[in-house]
């Protein structure tokens, strides 16, 4: 155990914190919501059913890349008949990696799950701390690669929303509540990506002379504005993805029928 606030020379106060507010609410809520999401997503990813109801596909299963995808849901079956598991498991690693390495979620889980620290000026329970300097946490530095891959997913999920303007027979000129749900989901995912810190860096953050790059400076300014809301977009898009999946699951399972606008 290395000494923290009780180290020799510091003011001798034995309390772990003297905070009188409910500092534990925030980490507790973070953990509750993330755990709920993880449980839901795990069940749905392994369920391998109720993820497609033409023209809607669940974001957990898109792109559907195996021959065992339900008919109509897959356009490129890269994984042949040998893939017997749920096709969601092929792709979910990427959005998972994107969120696990996200600067905001890092803060959320370091505080919520690892109590490092649980809240500001509340002593953490760990004897040693090395931060993000060692394996595995040093891997968080590859966040930008997940950001790039996330963009590909955004394009695919936007495509899913666009083809949801076709009806179940493939004829254009349809719109249902499901179309709206997929559109909203894609929009939130774009906002989440666009407000990403790596995006901000790539756009212009790495420059020293904005004056020499007026277009990138503009882009950086715009992304910086979105970036101040990154936490909001992180939660909104996470809940959005779960709700979009739930909607498709309910329609595909026959619990509800899609509300058709035209």
């Amino acid at each position: 155990m290395t000494a923290g606030t009780t180290a020799p020379g510091r003011a001798q106060i034995s309390a772990r914190t003297l905070r009188t507010d409910r500092w534990w609410v925030q980490p507790a809520v973070t953990v509750a919501v993330l755990v709920a999401f993880i449980i839901y997503a795990t069940i749905r990813a392994f369920q391998n059913a109720d993820y497609y109801s033409a023209p809607y596909i669940s974001p957990f299963y898109s792109p559907c890349l195996a021959t065992n995808c339900v008919p109509g849901s897959s356009e490129v079956a890269v994984f042949g008949g040998w893939w017997a598991l749920s096709p969601a498991l092929i792709i979910l690693i990427f959005p998972l990696g994107f969120r696990l390495t996200c600067y905001y979620y890092r803060k959320a889980y370091y505080r919520g799950f690892w109590s490092s620290p649980p809240a500001c000026a509340v002593a953490e329970p760990h004897g040693k701390y090395t931060g993000e300097r060692r394996f595995p946490l040093v891997l968080n530095n590859i966040h930008r690669y997940f950001f790039y891959i996330g963009l590909i997913f955004n394009v695919i999920l936007t495509y899913d929303a666009v083809i949801a303007f076709r009806d179940s027979t493939g004829a254009w000129g349809h719109m249902g509540l499901g179309t709206l749900v997929l559109l909203a989901n894609a929009t939130l995912l774009w906002l989440y990506s666009a407000s990403c810190h790596s995006c901000r860096h790539v756009m212009g953050g790495r420059l020293t002379h904005f004056s020499k790059h007026p277009v990138r400076y503009k882009a950086w300014t715009l992304v910086s504005k979105l970036n101040t809301r990154h936490m909001f977009f992180a939660w909104a898009s996470l809940i959005g993805v779960a709700l979009a999946d739930l909607y498709v699951a309910l329609v595909a399972g026959g619990t509800i029928t899609d509300l058709r606008f035209f």
């Binding site: 290395t2 020799p8 106060i13 009188t20 000026a121 002593a123």
Partner: protein
Amino acid sequence: MGYKAKFKVWRGDAEGGDLQDFTVEVNEGEVVLDVIHRLQATQAPDMAVRWNCKAGKCGSCSAEINGRPRLMCMTRMSVFSEDETVTVTPMRTFPVIRDLVTDVSYNYEKAREVPAFAPPEGVAPGEYRMEQVDVERSQEFRKCIECFLCQNTCHVVRDHEDNKTNFSGPRFLMRIAELDMHPLDAHENRAQEAKTDHGLGFCNITKCCTEVCPEHIKITDNALIPMKERVADHYYDPILRLFKRTNK
């Protein structure tokens, strides 16, 4: 209207000490520092407290009030209810000298370890020309009043005394960011040094520095994360390195 408030103030020195109870008058419009001064004037003439400006600009009166790192002169008594006990302790990351006064030399040592601004070659002082857009970003960091509340709150050193050797803390990593983003600074490798010499990798971006900064500087979002991204450019992005991009 005035009222009698209950205070607990930590008193002692490096050898030991404890929270002592006081009941003290509080008047409308006062801040915590006013009340500490009243204690000095009426009940505890030898109570040690450091202060200068009483305007949130000198950064001297940093302490912890009800466990939260804050400036005593900028904490209004009106944020507490009249029956609430207000607890005031010195900052808990630095060695205590006496009562509310701590020895903040850790911060001055870390400040000295940051290489100074390096003037560009062939440009005489007085000939420096910069575009406003190029300096704007780092100007935010110059609002710093060196209160060291961020350094005090950062769990890397607050909870782990042994990390003080290798970690410069948010205030000085921000100083490196300021210089690295400066359009005229000629010092090479600031980002690399942030990692190797100043321990940027210890920071896990949990944002407590940002939460306590009385100047509302977005330390984590605008200095630390951008520096982490610059470090990633150099160490963790093999594809980018293939292109040998210059970041000028």
